[in-house]
Assembly symmetry: D2
Homo-oligomer: 365 residues x 4
């Protein structure tokens, strides 16, 4: 359920309404949109009559019931106001959101050694990326495949961050590693295979770093939003949804099937920002540039692209990694298309100060 507050209502009155709701064992969550203040109600609202709430205050404009299984993740919950995930990085604040330039995340599948990760970071930064990706803990189908360098790789990511000022996105696979990962990562990634690892979702929801939630291999849109709901319900409003290809009947020429219509569908259903990973979606570097351009046309808020200084020698996912040269060329092409859609900044660099206060500050009103 959400409560739309009339324009011009005082903060005190909003606070009074919220206080009243808490007495009913309901948690109010305030969203300040461009035009409206809305209060999302979390808890057992099934039994509550809309008129009961309406009667709380003459400053209540409307009370709306959210009929989807996902509540906080639903577009209604923020009355259509898109979430902006504002991430502080050494280079400044970077904002993921529908009304912001496309954010580019680039880097290798896994962190192999210091030279390699720092070099890649410098190259992707030079090409215009704002985040470095790189796996310390790698989910691999085979126990005999390279599993990532773990904790020591986290240290190398910290060095790359220091050297470039780029934000860091890296995956956490185990609840017991979360503290370590969150210390280094500016955005904590949940991988496709852990999308329904509900213990992990609850724990990343209970910490402060933004979360990148990759779609599971055969997760429906609704499954995916329900997993986001786990994180939101645990108190972390900063969730980015990453489409990375789904598993279908045809796996001969691409590793997965990029579900491009997920973008407009998500836009209809949720306020959360959207990322596309064309590298995992296709599995072959030759298809990555076309799919990256396509994702921009479809309206993505962000892109994650695998870049490796020497793909042929990569310890994992070489075939889908771009060389730094190819990545630079793609960035130039994307910049032109991004500007066409007014989704690219002049230099695409992080801003010194966020345009809006980080959303997390509005939680727990």
């Amino acid at each position: 359920m959400i409560i739309v507050i009339k324009s011009g209502t005082t903060t005190a009155e909003i606070e009074r309404i919220s206080e009243e709701l808490r007495c009913w064992n309901i948690t109010p969550e305030r969203t300040e949109g461009r035009n409206k203040v809305v209060i999302g109600l979390v808890g057992d609202t099934a039994e509550i009559d809309v008129r009961q709430i309406q009667n709380l205050s003459p400053f209540i404009e409307q009370v709306i019931r959210v009929n989807k299984p996902f509540k906080r993740a639903s577009k209604e919950f923020r009355y259509g106001e898109p979430t902006e995930v504002v991430v502080p990085t050494p280079n400044g604040f970077v904002t993921f959101g529908q009304n912001h330039p496309v954010v580019v995340v680039a880097g290798p599948c896994s962190v192999e050694n210091e030279e390699m990760i720092v070099e890649t970071a410098l190259l992707v930064k030079a090409a215009g990326a704002q985040f470095l990706r790189g796996g310390a803990y790698k989910p691999r189908t085979s126990p005999y495949a390279f599993q990532g360098h773990g904790e020591s790789a986290l240290e190398l990511l910290a060095k790359a961050r220091e050297a470039t000022g780029l934000g860091i996105i890296t995956e956490v696979m185990d609840t017991s590693d979360l503290d370590l990962v969150a210390e280094v990562a500016d955005v904590v990634q949940i991988g496709a295979r852990n999308m329904q690892n509900f213990s992990l979702l609850k724990k990343v929801g209970a910490q402060g770093k933004p979360v990148l939630l990759k779609r599971g291999l055969s997760a429906t849109i609704e499954d995916w939003l329900m997993s986001a709901e786990y994180i939101l319900a645990a108190g972390n409003p900063n969730v980015i949804l990453c489409e990375r290809g789904i598993r279908t009947f045809d796996r001969q020429y691409t590793r997965n099937t990029l579900d491009i219509s997920a973008i407009p569908v998500l836009r209809k259903l949720t306020h959360l920002p959207i990322m596309v990973d064309p590298s995992h979606a296709t599995g072959f570097s030759e298809f990555v540039p076309t799919m990256a351009m396509t994702a921009i046309a479809a309206g993505t808020d962000s892109l994650m692209i695998e870049v490796h200084p020497n793909p042929a020698k990569a310890l994992s996912d070489g075939p889908q990694s771009l060389t730094p040269e190819k990545f630079e060329q793609l960035m130039q092409e994307m910049a032109v298309l991004g500007k066409f859609f007014s989704r690219w900044t002049k230099n695409n660099s992080p801003t010194a100060t966020p345009k809006f206060a980080p959303i997390s500050s509005t939680v727990g009103v």
Copy 2:
């Protein structure tokens, strides 16, 4: 197998080589590309030694074996030269191909009555479409659903063609209707559910009108190209491949899943032109504009878009049909994006004369 001929070889020598090959019970098919002449060899070439062919003439530059199960449909068969499907319409020739402007096909799911189809044709023409789509024979899941007006609808399509000069694309469902359909249609459509109706493929391959081959609901890329191969092998080189969404595990918010990476994959594998149908792929008109724009970014050669004067009252597929107003607006947006990619002509109108001779004339060298 294909034979690449050296530049400057005389027609007489090419004819001599071809004659020789016919004696081996092999059918040579000549392709004149921008730079090279190549001869595709069709028949039982498994036993033939590459050197045997090489020895036929000093004007042979190279002999290449095609290792894919599809031969004529493979990119190698035309040595990378894209096929141009040139369709004569009352308004002039329209060319489907990689180096040509995006061709827009629009119209209702089914032909309902004369007024409706002529009105729609006039409206989509005014908005810039070059072809009218409209079903006379409708493949419907239920025998109790509207099955199309059949033969009488074909007459109405002929009237719409006359009134507007637009080319006509309509589906054939039965081999026994083919002659009637091909009389009216400028391009004959094979629907998704008939993609592996091999009898029908053979028969549309043996007639002269170009063929639009929709991808089956769970057809792999290879299945699809093998079905194109049926048509090509029967003698019809003018095949357009139409991606219209595949069936996956998630059907809650879209009718099918648009497999957008099929475009670059097909581009790698085949010389045939590509169309995208965002209406059937998504099943909801609200997602059609975004997906149409996306398909252009992905490099499609053509788009098929459902337009109905009154979607709410459509006899079939109303929910996925655009109103003429929405279609006109989309055409304007697509024109801007199409020009960005140099895939849109100034007025996007058919040309008085084809830039290249229709490809069909090169068959049977």
Copy 3:
């Protein structure tokens, strides 16, 4: 809608009610079950009030609306009475149905030559099969693969029928071949790739031979029953549904995924008899015996098993064909299990006279 008639109602009264309904432009179809007579109503019944019908006669016990999209195929339409498809073969009548022994259909993928098909027929008959399968027209993914010997193969099937007395099941792929096929076949097969070839469905529905309808590669249960509905609606009540594996994400160790729970699901939804084809479902002969046994445990009414005298030299589908020896051994194992479930006759031979009159005679009351 269906009308349940009270026990003891006279034929004249039932005829009177039917006549009345015809005046309303509704086609009544009578089913005589073991306990009840029911009249299925076909036509535009949406507007008719249940009470209007109830008032037609005091001998009407109950009027029930069928709320599924498939009507004639629904279990309700026959008030739970299972359809018995009784097929006259030279050896006698064979009945496919829920209360009858499991019928075994065996034979090669395609008819290769006279000696081969007659020999196979003799062997599968000796092992206890009641029908010979064998393709004259073969739907093949590649136009260059063996396409079946066509009309001449039909003649060879006729010879095998003569030599053994076995019933013949063979596929029709084209409406224009239907008369020829139906002349030889005792049961006409619609292949998986033609399950939604609606023209073909209408035409096999309009002729007299029973129809075996294979499930499409990605057909839902509902799609499949709607295709059966096409045949039933065209006037042919003798439809057998054949599960032959569906297409899923995993195709490494089996060709398709046998959807075994389709059996109890169909049993709940429809009165039509069910066949399972473990050969196409798995694609490997080594898995066929286990899956055949499994299908019996799941309650199938019939099995279709590929048998080839020399699988290694088969012109098509060799890897999934049993040798005659393996088939004989499997028949012995199935006999024991079939008897366990009371679904196997002493000698499993066709009966001289059908236990029940062929159902087709009750149509068009």
Copy 4:
């Protein structure tokens, strides 16, 4: 790679060969089959020449390279000898394996309260089950759905175990809960959504309790065996594979699609015992009995069936739960079929002593 030892070789010689291999940084794992002793080699064997190993001893009969990505899970690794997972329960040892009676696991989706779980345990024991299932930690799509009673539910399971002597199977969702769960559980379950939670796999592999590994919703057979390989590679040889339905395009009448041919496919590929869960596979109790019977015919070694004293009031998965009465009836039917296949013991009760020594004792030779 595996080494087959000649019959009659002394333990000392086998020990000597093993010692030699350890010097090459290879871990030898001994399997004593009915006829042969084989030594599986784990480690980087890619570079080792077969002849090098052959030369180690004249008592080596054969050296075989395992060409699959899964090694320890492959049938070759134990030279075809099926694994027997012997579980000590208060009632005695229960053995899961190909040459043993079918083991039945039954109980509610989740542990709701003491009375309910003890009552259900008594009822399923009386009907012949040897294990009680019951979720303490529940993986639920929605964060607002009942998440299980957690630690307190584990205590209730311990009480049910005490009251009935049944073994306990319950799921672990988080590495940090593993110790608690393993204290109560006789078999630790990894749920479908965690099948590729590699951190969890490593940790259950490093503890001593047997592991039930459910197949992921869209896991291929190979993905699944690779996940088993994680557990085996971490030192735990006692893995049971549970097929519980896969996600396909059709979800209208069943929750998932039971992949019944997975049973013979697994039998060909691996030595590990197999369980089938018809409750989750179908999602509806009405289909459970037929699918349970079917799984026995397909050769399953074990069944997991949801039973709830009052399905209509279940806190989770009520629609797929059998009542105790229905379960008892099914057990009687399964007993008859199980005996038919010689896979049911007279009283199906656990044995006082295991027929074979627990396999775990043979690890780390």
